[in-house]
């Protein structure tokens, strides 16, 4: 599972840097789980943790690297008390989306690959 997470994080990172699409946090866990997941829990775990971790790390990075003003303004726009909540919200969205996609991928795998 650890390698799965590492693989997903790296794959998503590269695809995110090369393209502007947000949905790699769903596509990568889905495909990974479709090919590799042993069960639904693993599909969820790999998807949610890798996606959540990546977006959490990236949000923190951009927040510190010149994103202070925009984070404060967006937090104000969403009526959040602090930009940190916005970082957590970003991570949570990826966590849920990645987890759901991972679960879906692994569930399909379980239908197709009968042991």
């Amino acid at each position: 599972m650890r390698y799965g997470i590492l693989f997903c994080v790296l794959a998503m990172l590269i695809l995110h840097l090369l393209t502007p699409y947000w949905w790699w946090v769903m596509a990568v866990p889905f495909v990974f789980a479709l090919v590799r997941a042993r069960n639904i829990l693993q599909g969820f775990g790999v998807g949610s943790i890798s996606a959540g971790l990546l977006w959490f790390g990236a949000a923190i990075y951009y927040w510190i690297d010149g994103g202070g003003i925009i984070a404060d303004r967006m937090a104000a726009m969403l009526q959040l008390d602090s930009a940190l909540l916005l970082v957590l919200l970003t991570a949570l969205a990826a966590f849920v989306a990645g987890g759901l996609a991972g679960m879906a991928g692994s569930a399909i795998r379980l239908v197709v690959v009968r042991d």
């Binding site: 949905w23 202070g68 967006m74």
Partner: protein, 812 residues
């Protein structure tokens, strides 16, 4: 079971994708927006960074751009094409979304972005014929050998920027509102000009109201209460100026048929607006250094990003600094190596309304003279996001479009139904050519020559030159009219109601080096009775122009600092004239505790509208309630409440006709007088304030009661700067109010060493994640200005921290 589970999870996943990927009502596509690699996180301060070298296909030679410490670009190009190409490029870099939004607004295309909510607004702009006017103007521009190539180069520069723009670096608003940049066209520049033209000529219409008032009050009383020449005004052109030319004489009217418009409602809620501006130029004979000083502060709607973008443009044959309209090439207000100029709105009426009589409901012909004339039609297709296209047919007569047909309630209550609009904005014109000419003008003659092309919106162009001249011109295309013509709606079938030409540019009101040593304007009536042409409009009241002239009359040895201080002047002539009359009326009145306290504050007040003062809050409300009390019973027409006389008229009545019948409430048996009204108004003003703000304390401070809100153009929460603690009020030299105020302040001293300062409330960057988004606002509130660096060459950085960007075409 497994299949079912898989199906369920796939459906839930797809639902999550759907929820995050698409916009839902007012909510933007969340997934795209919060993606740290492509969403708003990418709109941080890093977007401010510049690369030292930029390859931009389309440039003919290399261009050097120096960004100074306030992110003002100083562009040094080797030819005109590259100069305006680079202007387009750097402006788009900082203001792309604003440019596009303004063009969309003018064209009536906002519903493409927002959906149904802006459809009525779009329809209004379409029916006004703004896009129609822009199409005429862009043909004129592109056929012109001066303005055409400039507009083309600017558009190419904007598009070069858009082409190199990665989706993840789209301005934040595109991500929030879920749209993408559209390539920039010369038509957009014309649309911006028309948006400005309508904004500055269409906001103060009163023809419909005057028509209704004449029915109610009679012609004579209407002229007394709604005069062309407002009381106490000191006109722009010094009184007594004579006009050594033969004026074009208008032909008389053939019939006197009145039009029946009584079933229409006027604009009974009309509020006096703070739109307007000041400019003045003081001759060297009055200044400390012996050189002319020119000042300008246009009062416009205050938004983020600001309406202006600051720039220096330098190429062989031109070196100019000032503020530009994002989307249009050249400098609008500024100075070059030889001259400086500034503008205020002319406010002379250039819109008239002709009631149209159609032959039948097909609207295919309308009565004109002894016969009928065919109409033309323009079908407007309004795209509405998420909805089918909305089609609207507008009928055009030879006067112009029928903005609202009879029975169609107008969006703007000043616009009459069933009337065609005659507007100079619909005529072919080339204002950009005028601005480009001013940018390069070296003396008075070149300044006057450039202005010939400036038709609409008419402006008072103040001028000063390093060679020592000062001047002002009430410039624009103004119709030749009979005395009184166009004050009311006219019968469109009567050909003698037509405009009788345009006042020749040489005959326009102007003043050069007047003996008093200064020229000035504050949107007031331009001339005294000697001027041979009839001008009308809804010109600003005396309060700013008289104060400016009164102060300048007494000044000698003027410094730049004195001028900057005068721009911040918040002394109220209204209060100064009214209080000696009104305060004695309160003597002996039975006042409560709060009222006595409030009265004391007003009695000891220096009549300055400072943010921290309480007296202006009391006086303001008192004066407002008093006007309400005076007019509540007098202006009830057959179709309801009519437009009330302006506050300068009311002030004049109080001072010169204290026993006027208007001071009696004609709905009561008793006979009231001014004293009773003044006491009653004071008491109710105090009790209103008390119920809103409690006992008298700091919460009554003027800066909290009025204050200024500078909002993002789309009023997006989090991107606004609200509750600014500002001095000022409309009608004062520092005409800062809640949403309108000095959008740019500039003082230029034209000595051997050119010294200029300026500020606008905002920042150069339109990116809310940049520290240059609103960096100047606090200094603007505090009344500070920045030195403007007119660089002689790219190496002349005058000690500020500069960033140099070299742009080249990428190919030899």
């Amino acid at each position: 079971m497994r299949v079912l589970l898989a199906l369920l999870l796939v459906i839930v996943s797809l639902a999550a994708f759907w929820g995050l990927h698409y916009a839902h009502g007012v909510f933007p596509p969340v997934g795209r927006l919060i993606n740290p690699f492509g969403g708003f996180w990418q709109n941080g301060e890093n977007a401010d960074h510049f690369s030292a070298r930029l390859d931009v296909p389309g440039l003919r030679d290399s261009v050097t751009i120096i960004y100074d410490d306030r992110r003002v670009p100083h562009i040094f190009a080797r030819n005109d094409h590259d100069l305006y190409f680079a202007q387009g490029y750097v402006t788009a870099r900082d203001r792309l979304w604003q440019m596009q939004l303004t063009a969309f607004s003018s064209a009536g295309r906002l519903a493409e972005i927002t959906g149904r909510s802006m459809r009525a607004y779009d329809r209004f702009h379409r029916r006004l014929g703004l896009a129609y006017a822009a199409e005429i103007t862009v043909r004129e521009i592109m056929a012109d050998s001066v303005a055409g190539p400039v507009v083309r180069a600017y558009a190419d520069g904007v598009n070069a920027y858009i082409e190199g723009l990665d989706r993840r670096h789209y301005p934040l608003e595109y991500k929030l509102l879920n749209h993408s940049p559209e390539s920039w066209t010369p038509l957009n520049a014309a649309l911006l000009l028309k948006q400005m033209a309508w904004g500055l000529t269409g906001y103060n219409l009163n023809d419909l109201d005057i028509t209704l008032l004449e029915h109610h009050l009679g012609k004579e009383e209407t002229e007394r209460l709604y005069p062309d020449f407002p009381p106490y005004t000191r006109p722009i052109i010094p009184e007594g100026t004579t006009w050594p030319f033969e004026a074009v004489q208008p032909k008389p009217r053939s019939s006197a048929r009145n039009s029946d418009v009584l079933q229409q409602r006027g604009d009974n809620e009309h509020v006096e607006t703070a739109l307007g501006s000041n400019n003045w130029a003081v001759a060297g004979s009055k200044t400390d250094g012996g050189y002319p000083i020119l000042c300008n502060d246009p009062h416009l709607g205050l938004d983020l990003p600001n309406v202006w973008y600051e720039i220096q443009l330098s190429a062989p044959g031109v070196n100019v600094y000032g503020v530009t309209m994002p989307g249009a090439p050249g400098v609008v207000i500024g100075f070059n190596d030889s001259i400086a100029w500034g503008v205020t709105n002319a406010e002379t009426d250039v819109i008239d309304w002709y009631l149209v009589e159609y032959q039948d409901s097909t609207r295919s012909v309308y009565r004109y003279g002894d016969g009928w004339r065919p109409t033309t039609r323009r079908v407007e297709a309004i795209k509405v996001r998420g909805k089918p296209i909305f089609y609207d047919t507008v009928t055009y007569t030879h006067y112009g479009p029928v903005v609202y047909e009879t029975g169609h309630p107008p969006l703007d209550p000043d616009i009459p139904q069933g009337a065609a609009m005659r507007w100079t904005g619909h005529d072919p014109s080339n204002e950009l050519r005028a601005l480009l000419g001013l940018n390069r003008a070296r003396n008075y003659d070149e300044y006057r020559a450039a202005l010939v092309d400036f038709s609409c919106p008419g402006q008072n162009f103040a001028f000063a030159s390093r060679s020592g001249d000062i001047a002002i011109t009430h410039s624009g295309a103004f119709p030749i009219l009979r005395r009184g013509q166009g004050r009311t709606l006219c019968n469109g079938g009567d050909s003698t109601n037509e405009w009788q030409g345009i006042i020749p540019p040489k005959h326009l009101p102007h003043s050069k080096n007047p003996r008093r040593g200064y020229v000035s304007s504050a949107n007031q009536f331009p001339v005294d009775g000697n001027y041979p042409y009839y001008l009308s409009g809804n010109h600003a009241s005396f309060t700013r122009c008289k104060r400016i002239n009164d102060v300048l009359d007494t000044m000698t040895g003027v410094t730049e600092n004195d001028m900057a201080k005068l721009q911040l002047d918040v002394f109220s002539l209204e209060a100064d004239m009214l209080l000696p009359k009104l305060l004695p009326l309160l003597e002996g009145a039975d006042l409560g505790e709060i009222e006595r306290e409030a009265l004391k504050l007003v009695q000891t007040w220096d009549k300055n509208y400072r943010a921290s003062a309480i007296a202006p809050t009391v006086f303001e409300r008192w004066w407002e309630v008093l006007r309400d009390t005076i007019w509540a019973d007098d202006m009830l027409g057959e179709s309801g409440q009519l437009r009330r006389p302006r506050s300068d008229i009311c002030l004049n009545l109080i001072l010169s006709e204290p026993n006027s019948r208007y001071f009696d409430d004609n709905r009561t048996e008793a006979v009231e007088d001014l004293a009773m009204m003044a006491v009653g108004a004071f008491k109710s003003a105090c009790s209103l304030l008390q119920s809103e703000r409690g006992e008298i304390d700091d919460s009554w401070q003027w800066g909290l009661v009025q204050g200024t809100d500078i909002q993002h153009l789309a009023s997006i929460p989090g991107l606004n700067r609200n509750h600014l603690f500002t001095d000022g009020r409309y009608g004062l030299i520092n005409a800062t109010s809640r949403h309108v105020g000095p959008s740019w302040r500039m003082v230029v001293s034209l000595g051997p060493e050119l010294k200029a300062s300026g500020i606008y409330p905002g920042g150069q960057s339109g990116n809310p994640g940049s520290r240059y988004y609103d960096n100047a606002i606090d200094d603007w509130v505090d009344g500070r200005m920045y030195p403007l660096h007119m660089m002689a060459s790219p190496n002349d950085t005058m000690g500020f921290r500069a960033i140099t960007v070299k742009m080249s075409g990428g190919r030899p």
